[in-house]
Symmetry: C2
Subunit: 458 residues, 2 copies
């Protein structure tokens, strides 16, 4: 049977260590962290250890017409790494070497399976800084971060993953290798295929090497946290901080329902009728204290009922605790569906008011934490997973939030990607001409539609 | 005859004001600022005043099979805006409105014909900052800046044009309109077509609107200038400044030949045997003085024989004068061919040594100013335009510099683009697989190859 032939060929190319058929292991690799996202049954899991072995896998896939689903650490939230029936799962777990760290050129060259935290620590040891910090950074891989153009907390000052990707080595569906981009800080020779591949969710090629920009190590950071009695006051204070030119290295927002869930989970001394929380950080070392004081003044001016300024790292950590507790605090409340809309900052109040209305309409709890400095919110629909009617309402609310984001001039996904979870909404955001162009671009890279074929597009 | 039919149709769509056939005006629009770059004789110059009129032009071009060359202010340095025989020149000069400036969302929405300086001043009046500052900023348009992904002096801190482009409205060769990207700070829905179009030199579509990111107004800047007796010392000092975490808002380098040309043009008190000059700026307002002092200390440590620190705006301007005089100082020396190589900073000394050897080998003067913080140099071959043998040697030296840049892991163009001038070297930088992909991407956007068809690719 052809699957046996395929597996035989893969074993010949990759060796036994590189080819896994154990049903339990395959089963454990079917899903990423997205909820409510279907996943098929893979034929085989491959773990290539070199670019040449990735080429082998893709040549075999092309020859046998078998789809390939690239996987990093499967911490994604949109199902982009979910298996489909009969596919080859291509794990980058053995492509996990940091190939180079250059302090002089402020770059790192890595394989895709390197874990973000591992790279961040390795460069820090040389006085350098790799800013992109998705919440999953202790587990997620650079390849996965590139596939989703992952954001994080520090984007508000430093930008997203793509802002730090200078060049890529990519294996195409044909098995050919292409190098895009460059090692240099600037370069405009030809079309920017690097940016095209960043965020393409494994649908255009398999990244086998990335050249990443680094920065000098940041100075020490200090944190401030402010409590407001309304959503509007918290949002207005955040807008004022952004307009001030202070450049916070983190600016997070928690709405009332999120703050109350945290207070119920652990006593943080928050008032019962808390409207919103704002948490900000400055990482300018000796100047962080004055920045934090300026942020605190702005928050007070905009009606904060309580403002705390950290004076050292320990206090800073404590003030960030509320943000860290979002997931653990929401978990006991039920199943969650996490939205990822981003809107222009001027539309944030309208977004949050609209989300409250959606919650009422569909009779679901929607908690709304988010990266307020970027206008990127994570409205999280919480519901009883044992109640099918509640689940149906939750899914409708989840979609309504995306429609609201689009209506406000925003996007359905600021940093999590489309994957399988949001492909129904993609056409609405891109429009028919844009969608047609994107499909044709996909066909240039992957004419037989073998790379993650059930993702991104419907 | 078909040209008459085409012009008739264009007049019907755009009115008399939008269609120019005066041979003198056509002749004055044949070239951009690139030297030694052929240009054809256009059939007609159109000046559409709306997206609908651009659509009209492209529909007519497609119907008649006539190539279209988009033009901004024609300040480009690679011939990308040069006419080809029988083409339609599409000038964006009447698409020159600033449609929106939002202080709250820190964005501007503009038509492509808006001059960079005009936008920069308009946003500054609202306390905002549009950083990209190519040398041509008083003349060049945002559309042209986008077409070349233009750099400038402040890239070293703020990035290039593309880093500030969030979304585009683009008319395709078919006449269809596509909107790419977004108004929001983050967004990952689908492939990043915005970045694909930025830097595509008018070969994928005609940009009719751009949504640009702004920042809060920068604080006051101060400048330092240092004189070194060798190239190596100046480069080493620049590397140390970049490694220090100081984030200069400008870091420019002039090699000995350039510095001597300036000294001959105007007495700046530079020693006869000057090796290199470094000019740096910090724009951190009250903290600029301490930054400039730190930069001065680094320069002294690396062997500067003279270091000047400005204490106010007037002195800062004086210290920048040497950089401003590069073009006027080189002009009387002869014709120039301006290279635009960028290399990893660790290869700058090798680049400059290699360039000196190339100058000797081909018996031409090569002056080397550049944006040293980005590793982006503008080696400028100076020669006697009345001596055909000298011109031939200059062209060979020009190519040898690009080959050297590639050999050092760099790019043939950091910020000027490929256009017509450098298309011979593009294949070498991209490799066969990359080049084939780029051509196929071009065909997706422009299947009949009507948009700037003789540019970028050979």
């Amino acid at each position: 049977m052809s699957t046996d032939l395929l597996i035989g060929r893969l074993r010949a190319g990759l060796g036994d260590k590189g080819v896994v058929t154990d049903p339990d292991i395959l089963d454990s690799h079917r899903n990423d962290h997205a909820t409510f996202c279907e996943a098929g049954v893979p034929a085989v899991l491959v773990r290539p250890s070199s670019t040449a072995e990735v080429q082998e896998v893709l040549r075999a896939a092309t020859e046998y017409g078998v789809p390939v689903v690239p996987q990093g650490a499967r911490t994604g939230l949109s199902g982009a790494a979910n298996a489909l029936d009969g596919c080859i799962l291509l794990s980058t777990s053995r492509l996990n070497r940091i190939l180079e760290i250059s302090a002089e050129d402020q770059i790192a060259v890595v394989q895709p399976g390197v874990v973000n935290a591992e790279l961040s620590r390795a460069v820090l040891a040389q006085g350098l800084f790799y800013p992109p910090d998705p919440s999953s950074w202790e587990m997620s891989t650079i390849g996965g971060n590139i596939a989703t153009n992952a954001g994080g907390l520090c984007c508000v000052k430093y930008g997203v993953t793509g802002d730090f990707v200078r060049g890529l080595e990519v294996v195409l569906a044909s098995g050919e290798v292409v190098r895009t981009g460059r090692r240099t800080a600037k370069g405009v020779a030809g079309y920017d295929l690097t940016s095209l591949i960043v965020g393409s969710e494994g649908t255009l090629g398999v990244v086998t090497e990335a050249t990443l920009a680094l920065r000098p190590e940041p100075e020490a950071a200090l944190t401030a946290a402010a409590t407001f009695m309304s959503i509007e006051a918290g949002i207005a204070a955040a807008a004022a901080v952004m307009a001030s030119g202070l450049r916070p290295s983190l600016l997070e927002f928690l709405d009332g329902p999120t703050a109350r869930a945290i207070q119920n989970y652990r006593d943080m001394g928050l008032p019962d009728d808390v409207g919103s929380l704002l948490i900000a950080q400055s990482d300018r070392g000796p100047r962080a204290a004055e920045d934090v004081a300026a942020i605190a003044r702005i928050c007070t001016e905009y009606g904060a009922v309580e403002v705390a300024e950290a004076s050292d790292a320990e206090e800073s950590k404590m003030l960030l605790e509320a943000r860290r507790l979002v997931n653990p605090a929401l978990e006991p409340l039920g199943a969650t569906l996490i939205d990822d809309v981003a809107v222009p900052r001027s539309k944030l109040v309208a977004l949050l008011q609209g989300i409250a209305e959606i919650g009422t309409k569909y009779d679901v709890l929607i908690c709304c934490p988010g990266h307020v400095g970027d206008g990127n919110m994570h409205p999280t629909v919480v519901f009883d997973r044992n109640d099918p009617a509640a689940e149906a309402r939750a899914l409708e609310a989840f979609g309504a939030v995306m429609n609201l984001g689009l209506a406000l001039g925003g996007t359905i996904t600021g940093e999590h990607g489309i994957g399988k979870l949001k492909s129904r909404w993609l056409a609405q955001e891109l429009g028919p001409v844009g969608l047609a162009l994107q499909r044709q671009v996909k066909a240039v890279f992957d004419p037989a539609n073998l790379l993650n074929p059930d993702k991104l597009f419907l």
